[in-house]
Every structure is written in structure tokens, then in C-alpha cells.
């Protein structure tokens, strides 16, 4: 009896061995096929090793044997929630390399679609994150509002998710006559609905208890790991490509870069909600001023880039997305590299989750908004 008492008093004897468990590859909170090898000590997370590549599709290799017009259609299979923005990155890269200036009309429409895409991505993420945290109503709120954006997309270009609306030199088609009205109605609609998100989730005590003060990532670590997008800006990392290296119609609009200094999971969550409001402001500034003009410039049938190396960065819903093309002057690129924001963001999860409880790991991972095809490519 005395021995047992001694064990309990001397807490050193109570230490458990570290052990490893697999979270995934088929885990509902993995947002795709992601396997995390989690080293645990009791229920405290000591190390997280992400294992990726389950849906590696070799897109970079495929690009080497395709023409530039065809590459555009592969990019929306990567980050399918920011399909239009990734398409635009390739188009901008090709246009900049050829020094083609697209008409203002194209720039405006592209930017409006970008922001609609960003809102739709954040809405799906809001729903999925709610599900991660056990709030299934959030999913229906998110999908309900996203559906209307997808309807606008469908009417504009025929597709709902993988838009393929961009092509080097402009857009595939002009906008439909009631595009502006639809978008304006949507802005009104979402302005009414967004406060509901706050009511349902943001102020919910169960949600805030699980997210506030969890998964801290300091500004220095954030820059060192290259964590960008809303996740980076939640740590006060001013990394908005739209602000610092503006493209398309972003130089014409006034908007605020959403920054936060709390660096925790809740900040990452709330940053996205605030970003939706800001996206609405951007669309509102553009929608009434779409200039008249062509929706595309005439391009040669076979696009050949001059020899050289070209980089184009855009801001997707997940962060700093880059397209890097090495051209040797032929009709297909010599090497294409996609700098995906999710890739850099994912590997910071180890830093964020050291010392937290296993139950909070799902919350920390979900707040990074990983999209697996974007990470695996």
C-alpha cells in the first residue's frame, strides 16, 4: 500500500511513454487524404509529422508536355476551391512574359470573379470547420450561401467549381447581361447573412473555448515557415499579394488588409470571416464600373514564350500562390513549378500543435484550411 502511495506522490514515476498514432489518411477532419503521424505523451501532442502524396498527380510533369492554353485547365484541379484564381495566375504569367496588356474590362471581371471565388471558398471552409468542431448547422449555413455564388458562376461560364473562365489573353466569354444585377443582389443577400455566422459560431462559448489561445504561431515562425493567406495574417504577417504586388484590378480598388495580432486558431478563423466582408467591399467598388471593351485580345493559335524564367504570384483563398515557368522558347514549357500556399502552411502545423491536447489538433489543422490536391499537386 505504501508503495502505491509513493507512486502517486512522486509524479516522476507517473510519466507515460511517448507513442505514435496515425491520424488519417482517411480521417474526416483531414480535408482530403492527409496522414499525420502524431507523437503523443498521454494526451499531449509532442510532434506532428505530416505524410502527404496520396493524391500526388504529377501536374508539374504533365505541364511539361502541354501547351500553355492547356496548362490553365490543370491548375483548377489543384486548389479546386480557388480555381479561378489559380487559372488567372497562369494567364497573367503568360501575358506578362509576352508583354500583352489585357483590356480593363478583363481585369475588372477577373477581379470580381476572384473575390466571389474567395468568398465561396471561405464559406465552404466555414462549414467544414464547423463540422470539425461538431457544429453541423454551420455546414448548412455555408453551403446555403455558397450555392448562390455557384449559380452565378454557372450562368457566367457554364461550370460551377472548375471554372476555366480565363485563358491567356482574356476571358473565354463575355459576362451575361444580368451578371451585374445578380452580383449586386448577392452582396445585399450576404450582408444580411454574414452576421448569422457570428451569431452561430464566432460568439459560441464552446467554439471560443476550444480555439482561443490554442495553436499559437508567432510572427517570426510564421515568416520562417512561409505561412501565408488568412492563416499568416492572423499572426500579423502582412503578406497580402493583392496589396504588395497588385495584379488585375487590385490597383484600382481600396481595401484593407485584414491583420490580427493574437496569432491563435480563433484569429485564423475570424480573419476569414472578416475577409468575406472585405471581398464584398472590393466587388462593390468594381461591379458598377466595369468598362466597355473587348473581353479578350487576339492571341496566336500557338503561344510561345520567349526564353527566360517567369514568376507570377497571386493571392488565393489559402495564401500566396505562385506560378514559375522556365521557358526555352518552345510551345510547351521547360519546367513549371506551382508554389502552393497549402504546402508551406501545412508544415507549420508541427510548430503550432506542440504541447496542445490531441482534441485540439483537429481545430488547429482545420484553421489552416488545407486542400489536399493543392498540397500534393
Amino acid at each position: 500500500m505504501a508503495e502505491i502511495k509513493e507512486i502517486f506522490i512522486n509524479s516522476d514515476n507517473l510519466e507515460t511513454d511517448e507513442f505514435k498514432i496515425n491520424m488519417g489518411p482517411q480521417h474526416p477532419a483531414g480535408h482530403g487524404v492527409l496522414r499525420l503521424v502524431v507523437t503523443l505523451e498521454g494526451e499531449i501532442v509532442r510532434n506532428v509529422d505530416p505524410n502527404i502524396g496520396f493524391i500526388h498527380s504529377g501536374i508539374e510533369k504533365m505541364c511539361e508536355s502541354l501547351a500553355y492554353n492547356q496548362i490553365v485547365h490543370l491548375t483548377d484541379r489543384m486548389d479546386y476551391l480557388s480555381a479561378h484564381i489559380s487559372n488567372e495566375a497562369v494567364c497573367l504569367c503568360v501575358e506578362n512574359a509576352l508583354q500583352i496588356e489585357v483590356p480593363d474590362r478583363v481585369k475588372y471581371i477577373r477581379t470580381i470573379m476572384d473575390e466571389l471565388m474567395r468568398i465561396s471558398s471561405h464559406q465552404l471552409w466555414f462549414g467544414a470547420y464547423g463540422m470539425d468542431m461538431g457544429a453541423s448547422t454551420a455546414l448548412f449555413y455555408g453551403l446555403r450561401d455558397r450555392e448562390k455564388i455557384l449559380d452565378i458562376f454557372e450562368e457566367t461560364c457554364g461550370a460551377r467549381v472548375t471554372l476555366n473562365y480565363n485563358m491567356p489573353g482574356g476571358l473565354m466569354f463575355d459576362i451575361k447581361p444580368n451578371f451585374q444585377k445578380q452580383v449586386k443582389d448577392y452582396i445585399k443577400f450576404l450582408r444580411k447573412k454574414l452576421p448569422e455566422y457570428d451569431k452561430l459560431v464566432s460568439g459560441n462559448i464552446i467554439f471560443t473555448e476550444r480555439t482561443k489561445g490554442v495553436g499559437i504561431l508567432s510572427l517570426e515562425d510564421c515568416i520562417a515557415y512561409g505561412v501565408t493567406g488568412p492563416s499568416g495574417r492572423a499572426s500579423n504577417f502582412s503578406c497580402d499579394v493583392r496589396k504588395h504586388h497588385p495584379y488585375s484590378a487590385y490597383p484600382f480598388v481600396k481595401f484593407e488588409e485584414i491583420l490580427d495580432t493574437t496569432c491563435d486558431t480563433y484569429a485564423r478563423y475570424y480573419n476569414r470571416i472578416r475577409e468575406m466582408w472585405e471581398s464584398l467591399n472590393i466587388i462593390e467598388q468594381l461591379i458598377d464600373n466595369i468598362p466597355e471593351g473587348d473581353y479578350a485580345v487576339k492571341m496566336k493559335g500557338v503561344v510561345k514564350l520567349p526564353e527566360g524564367e517567369y514568376m507570377q504570384r497571386v493571392e488565393t483563398a489559402r495564401g500566396d500562390f505562385g506560378v514559375f515557368i522556365v521557358s526555352d522558347g518552345k510551345k510547351n514549357p521547360y519546367r513549371v513549378k506551382f508554389r502552393s500556399p497549402g504546402f508551406s502552411n501545412l508544415f507549420a502545423v508541427n510548430k503550432m500543435s506542440k504541447g496542445i491536447k490531441i482534441g485540439d489538433l483537429v481545430a488547429t489543422l482545420g484553421a489552416l484550411d488545407p486542400v489536399m490536391p493543392d498540397i500534393d499537386r
Binding site: 510533369k61 508536355s65 503578406c239 504586388h245 524564367e309 500566396d320
Partner: protein, 151 residues
């Protein structure tokens, strides 16, 4: 700093490196043995402060293997490119820059996985996407036996 100022600064401070004007960025080509030293200087110097590595790419050039680092300063928002090349194709080794930019650790794993460039001083150089017995698919001499890429 603008590209011109950056170029002047680099010419003054890195006399042994090759400086070229790319279409967008100033490209600094350094010898493999000077890479880490140069990166550290560029990151820590108060005039440049290149603290954010946003892209790390491996390229199989016709005559050499190259690794390209796109870096940006989060304070000044200027960007530049560091390039390092090695002619040894069978066993290319380049020193890891993970001590300078933490994110390089994972990007280097990707380059090792797809191009077979080894990074010395890398504490965790495992394959990232593919199996251990897979070839290096982004090399130009890679044979696509199962016809996975081209049908």
C-alpha cells in the same frame, strides 16, 4: 529597394557572384559552397532583410542541375532570385538553407523527391510524395514506363 538599387548593392557586396537581369527579378548565381553564407548575409543585412523564402524550385537544365530560391523581404517587399547550379548529375549535392529559412526544409524534401538533388546538412531528407524505389520524375531523362504522364 528597386531592382537597380538592389543590383548596385549586390555588385558591391557579392563580388564573387554572377548577377543578371531577369525578366522580373535580379538573379544572383552563386557557387554551391557559398550559398548558405550568401543567404545568411542577404537575410540578416539591415538593408536587404530577405526573410521570406516564398518559392524553392529544382530545375533540370540541359547542362546542369539547378535550384532556384525566390526570396522576399517582408519589410521592404522587394524580391530577388538566388540560383545555384551543379554539373554533377549523378550525385548532385547542394547545402541545405534550412538554417536560414525554416520552410526550405520541406521544399528541399520535395526537390529531392522529384529531382534527386541531395541537400547536405538536412536533418530529415526523406521522400515526400513518392515511394523510395521510384525514379526522379522531373528529370529530363526519366522514363515513364507505366505511361502515367503521356498516353
Amino acid at each position: 529597394m528597386t531592382n537597380e538599387e538592389l543590383k548596385a548593392y549586390l555588385t558591391k557586396n557579392f563580388p564573387e557572384a554572377e548577377i543578371a537581369d531577369g525578366p522580373q527579378y535580379i538573379e544572383l548565381t552563386v557557387k554551391p559552397e557559398l550559398l548558405v553564407e550568401t543567404s545568411k548575409k542577404l537575410k540578416e543585412s539591415s538593408e536587404t532583410l530577405f526573410d521570406y523564402l516564398f518559392c524553392l524550385t529544382g530545375v533540370d537544365y540541359p547542362d546542369c542541375m539547378g535550384v532556384i530560391y525566390h526570396i522576399e523581404s517582408t519589410k521592404f517587399h522587394h524580391e530577388m532570385v538566388i540560383k545555384v547550379k551543379t554539373t554533377n548529375r549523378t550525385e548532385p549535392v547542394i547545402e541545405s538553407v534550412r538554417s536560414v529559412w525554416q520552410t526550405a526544409k520541406y521544399h528541399e524534401r520535395e526537390v529531392y523527391d522529384l529531382l534527386g538533388v541531395k541537400f547536405s546538412n538536412h536533418n530529415d531528407l526523406r521522400r515526400l510524395f513518392l515511394d523510395d524505389d521510384w525514379g526522379f520524375p522531373l528529370r529530363k531523362d526519366y522514363t515513364d514506363e507505366v505511361r502515367i504522364i503521356e498516353r
